[in-house]
Amino acid sequence: MKRASQPTETPQVGRSIPRLESWLKVTGRAEYVHNLRLPGMLYGKIFRSSISHGRIKRIDTAAARALAGVHSVVTAEEIKSIVPDPYYGPAFLDQPVLAVDKVRYVGEPVAVVLASDPHVAEEAVHLISAEYEELPAVYDEVEAMTSKAIVHDVLKPAGTYPDLKHLQGKKNTNLALDFRLRRGNPETALKSAHRVFEHRFRTQQVMHTPLEPLVTVVESTEDSLTIHTASQSPSFVRIEIARLLGWPENRIRVRVPFLGGGFGAKLYIKLEALVSVLALLTKKPVKISLTMEEQFFTITKHATTFRIKSGLDREGRIVARECEVWWNGGAYADIGPRITQKSGFTAPGPYDIEHVAIDSYALYTNLPPAGALRGFGVPQLVWAYESHTDMIARALGIDPVEFRRKNILREGRPQATGTKMKDAAIETVLDRLEVLLDWKKPFDRGGGTLKRGRGLAVGFKACISNTTSLAAVSVNADGSCTVYCSSVDMGQGSDTAMAQIAAEVLNLPAESVRVVHSDTDVTPYDMATLGSRSLFHMGNAVKLAAEDAAGQLRALKDELKLPADAPVPDIFRKKYGMRAGSVTGTASFNPSYTPPDANGLTENATPFWMVGGTGVEIEVDTETGRVRVARLINVADVGTPINPKIVETQLSGGSIMQLGFTLFEKLQFDAAGQLRNASLAEYRIPGFLDLPGEIINEAVSAEQRTGPFGAKGVGETATFGLSPAVANAIHDAVGVRLTELPMNPESVYMKMQNK
C-alpha cells in the first residue's frame, strides 16, 4: 500500500485512524508464526501427563519410535544433554522443559515426538505410554496452605525479584510468596469500629483463549538460534534462552510477527525453551503449534479465595480493612508471585482507609499453571472488594454510590502502600457512572418472571514497576520514518499508537510511519507487552526517540545552514550530495520506583494508576436464574486517548471478555484433577448473542501528566468492575448475593431457592 510521507501540521494524536495493519489482516496477508514453514522442518507433538501428581517410573517410547516417519522421540533425558539444569520461569526456576522425574498436573508435557509430517507425529504420541507412582495431590488454594501434599520438594526463586529471596531452598511448603502489608493499626481499629463486616469470595480458574494458539518455530546454525514465536515478551525469551543454554544474548534472535490475541497467555517462556532444545538436538528447524485444546494445559487465570473484613465508624466511613487473598497458582509459579504482590497491594480497593492489613499468598497446587490474564489479578480483587462494598452499603441503608463517594480515594491521598494518588480520576469515573446509569431516576424493575436490577463497581490498578522500554526512531533520506520497538501488536493496536506518537513529534501522517516488529537482532529491549504498560512505557520511549531524531535533524539544518522549514530530503541531499543517509534517535524509558519496605509500604509504588468503572442493567429470569445484561456502561480513566476509537474497542472488548468469566466460563476439574471441558465445545466463550443490548464506553476527560501526550494504558481497564457490578445488580433485582464466580443460571436459581 502506498502511504504518503508528506509533512503535515495536523495533530496525529487524538485521531481515530484505522489500524495500520487492518488491510493486511482482512486480506489474509498479515504474518503469523502459524503460517511459517521452513525447508526440512520437523513438527513436534507433545505427550502429556495423565495424572495430576506422581513420580515418573517409566516412559515407553519404543512403539512411537518404531512408527514409520517418526524422526525421534525426546524426553527429559535428551533435554538434559543440551541443558543440564532444564528449569525456567520468571519468578521461580521451577518449570522443566519436559517433566523431570515428576509430573505435577494433568496435561504436563512429558515427551515430544518429532516427524516431518505432523499427522505422523500426532499418531506416534498415542503410542507412548508412561507409568507413574501416584502422589497425593492438592487442588484448592486454601487447602494448599496446610496440605500434606507438597507440589515442589524445594523452592527455587529465579533471583530476579528481591522479595522472593527468603524462599530460597524452602521445603515442605506450597507457599510461593507471602506478601504482607500493614498500615496504621488495623487490629485495634477493627476492634473499636462501630460496625464490622466480613465476607469471603471466590473466583474460578479460566483460560485466555487467544484464537491463535501458542506456536514456536526455531532454526539453528552452529552458533546461533533464530526463534520465531507468538510471544508477548521477546526480550525475556532471549534472556531466558541465553541463560538456559549458557550462550551470550547476541547469538539468540527472537522474532515476533503479529499475534492472534495474547491476553497474558504468551508471556515469559512457553514453548520457546522446548523448541529451542529440539532444534539443537535434531539440527533441523522444529515447529510446535499447540491445538486449541492443548492451551487449556498451558496457562490459565488464577482461581482465588479472598477474605475481606471492614470496620466502619458511625458516619459510614471505612476506618479499617483486612484482606486475605489466596492465589491458586497451579503447578508452576509463572508470574503468579508478582500478581500476588503487585496486585495484592491494591486489595483494599480505591478507598481512603487509614488502617489496612493485607496478606496475599501465592500457592502451588496440582492444576495447570496460572499467570497473568487481562488485569494481572486485579479483576479477582475488585470482584471481592466491590461486592463487599455494596453489601456494606445496603446493610447500612446507604445508597451504594453515596457510600462509595463518602469513602473514595481522592487525588493526593495515600493508597494502602502509602503512595499518594496522582492522575487517578477515581471520583470522576464514579460521577460519570452515576450520570450514565441515570442512577437518581426511577428504574423499571420488571415484572412477572423477568426482574430487572442495576449495579456498579469501580476498580483500580497500579501499573507494574520496575520496568524498562527502549525504542529507536529513524528518519530516512526521503523523510519517511521507521519505528523500531519490541512492543508486540497482539490485536490491541500498539503499532498504530506508536506510529501516531512518532508522527506527532515528526509532523508526519501516522499512516506513513512504518513500525518494525519485534526482532531482538534489530529492535531494542522491552520488558514485555503486558499489564497495559506499552502505551505508557514504550509510548514514552518512542516519543523521546522521535524527539531525539528531530533534534538531530535540527542540528543538521544548523550545520548545513538550512532554514528551519527546509524539507527533510533537502537536509540529506545537502549533507551527502545525493539521496543517502538517515538519522536514528534512541531512548530508554525507566520510570522511578521504590520497592516496598518490610511492611509493604512505599511512597512510589507505580508509575501510573488505571481506573475502571462498570455499570450494568440486567434482567434475571426468576424461573431459570438466567442473567442477561441489557445495558453495559464502561467508564475509564485512560489519560488522554491517543486513538479514541481503539480506546473504545479496548473497553468494550475487555468488558465482553470479562462477561464470559462472570457468567459462565470455568475450567471444570474432577476429583482427580482431570479437566472435563478442555475444548471450545465444552468451554464456552461469549458469542455475539451474549452481547449486552447496549454498550456505552467512555474515557473520562483526564490527563496522565507523565504519559506520552497525556496518555496511559487501557487494555485491561474494562475488566475490573464488570463481575461485581453484575453481582450487585443481581442482588438489586432478586435480593440474593452471589459470592462465587461464575454466576451461571443454576447458581443464581439455587441461591434464589435457598433465600
Binding site: H119, E122, E123, H126, T291, E623, T624, R626, G660, F664, E665, Q668, R676, N677, S679, A681, E682, R684, I685, P686, G687, F688, L689, D690, N744, P745, E746, Y749, M750
Partner: protein, 259 residues
C-alpha cells in the same frame, strides 16, 4: 487426524457401494465429523462425501407434506419461503441452531444421522411426525425420525444406509413450538430442548439434550421419571426443573395465535 481416502461419488448407489468397506464413513457437511476426527474419537480410513449426490431440493408433495432432500443445508432450509410459510416453527428453530457458519454447511441428513441428543431438529421433527427415506444395498425403506436415534450417538441406520429425503407432514391445524435453554454461552449446545405439538386436545411432547436421545413423554409430570444425569450443563435436578419451565413455556408459545 490420521490419513484417509476421500471419495466424491455422483450417485446414491455408488455412494452406498463405497460405504460397504470397513472403516468407511459418509460425510455431508462435516461439521460434526471433522471435530470427532480431530479429537481422535473417529478414525475412518475412507470418507465418502455426499456433496455431489444432489438431494438438495425442497418441495411440497401432493398431500401438502414437505419433502426435504437430505443434502439441503440447514441455512437453505431456514431461508426457504416454502418452509417459512408452511412450517414457520422449523424456520424459527433453525435461527438459533449453532451459528450461521455451521448452518451454511451442515445438512439436514447429517443433522439427523449424527444422533447427538443436543441437536434441535430431531425432537421437533419427531413431534411433527416426520419420516425419512433410507437407501441401502437392499433398496429403500421409510422410518420415523423418532426411531432414528437409539442412544447417545447411536442410530438404527446400517453403516451403508443413507438418509436421502425427509418428509414432514403438513402442519394443518397443528400448533407447534420448539424451545431450548443454554446454560453457558447463548450459542452453546442446549442443556434442555423441548418440542410441543398441539392438535385439538392432543399434545405430542418430546424432550432432548438432557436425555440420551429425543424422548417422547406423555405429560409434563413425566419429566420426573426421566433418566437424566448431571453434566457440564447442570445438575440433574436443575435440568429437570428447566425442562418443566420450558415445557410450560413451549405450551404457551404453541397456543399463541400465529403471527
Amino acid at each position: 487426524m490420521t490419513p484417509f481416502e476421500l471419495h466424491q461419488p455422483g450417485t446414491v448407489p455408488e455412494a452406498i457401494a463405497l460405504l460397504g468397506e470397513e472403516g468407511a464413513r459418509p460425510m455431508s457437511g462435516g461439521t460434526a465429523l471433522m471435530l470427532m476426527m480431530k479429537a481422535g474419537v473417529l478414525r475412518p480410513s475412507r470418507l465418502v462425501s455426499l456433496n455431489k449426490l444432489g438431494l438438495n431440493e425442497i418441495q411440497v408433495g401432493p398431500g401438502g407434506e414437505l419433502f426435504v432432500g437430505s443434502m439441503v443445508s440447514l441455512r437453505t432450509l431456514e431461508k426457504s419461503d416454502i418452509v417459512r410459510r408452511g412450517w414457520p416453527v422449523i424456520a424459527r428453530t433453525l435461527r438459533t441452531l449453532s451459528n450461521v457458519q455451521v448452518r451454511n454447511v451442515a445438512t439436514v441428513g447429517g443433522h439427523l444421522a449424527h444422533a447427538d441428543p443436543h441437536m434441535d431438529l430431531p425432537p421437533l421433527l419427531s413431534a411433527l411426525g416426520a419420516r425419512v427415506t433410507l437407501e441401502g444395498p437392499k433398496g429403500k425403506r421409510s422410518v420415523a425420525v423418532e426411531s432414528i436415534a437409539t442412544g447417545y450417538l447411536e442410530t438404527s441406520l446400517a453403516r451403508d444406509e443413507l438418509i436421502t429425503q425427509v418428509q414432514i407432514p403438513a402442519l394443518g391445524s397443528k400448533r407447534a413450538a420448539y424451545l431450548k435453554c443454554t446454560t453457558r454461552s447463548a450459542d452453546d449446545w442446549p442443556a434442555v430442548g423441548v418440542a410441543v405439538v398441539l392438535e385439538g386436545e392432543r399434545s405430542t411432547i418430546f424432550v432432548s439434550a438432557a436425555t440420551d436421545k429425543p424422548t417422547r413423554i406423555a405429560s409434563v409430570e413425566a419429566v420426573d421419571a426421566l433418566p437424566i444425569e448431571s453434566d457440564l450443563h447442570g445438575s440433574a435436578a436443575y435440568k429437570k426443573h428447566l425442562l418443566k419451565v420450558y415445557l410450560k413455556r413451549a405450551m404457551n408459545e404453541a397456543r399463541k395465535p400465529a403471527d
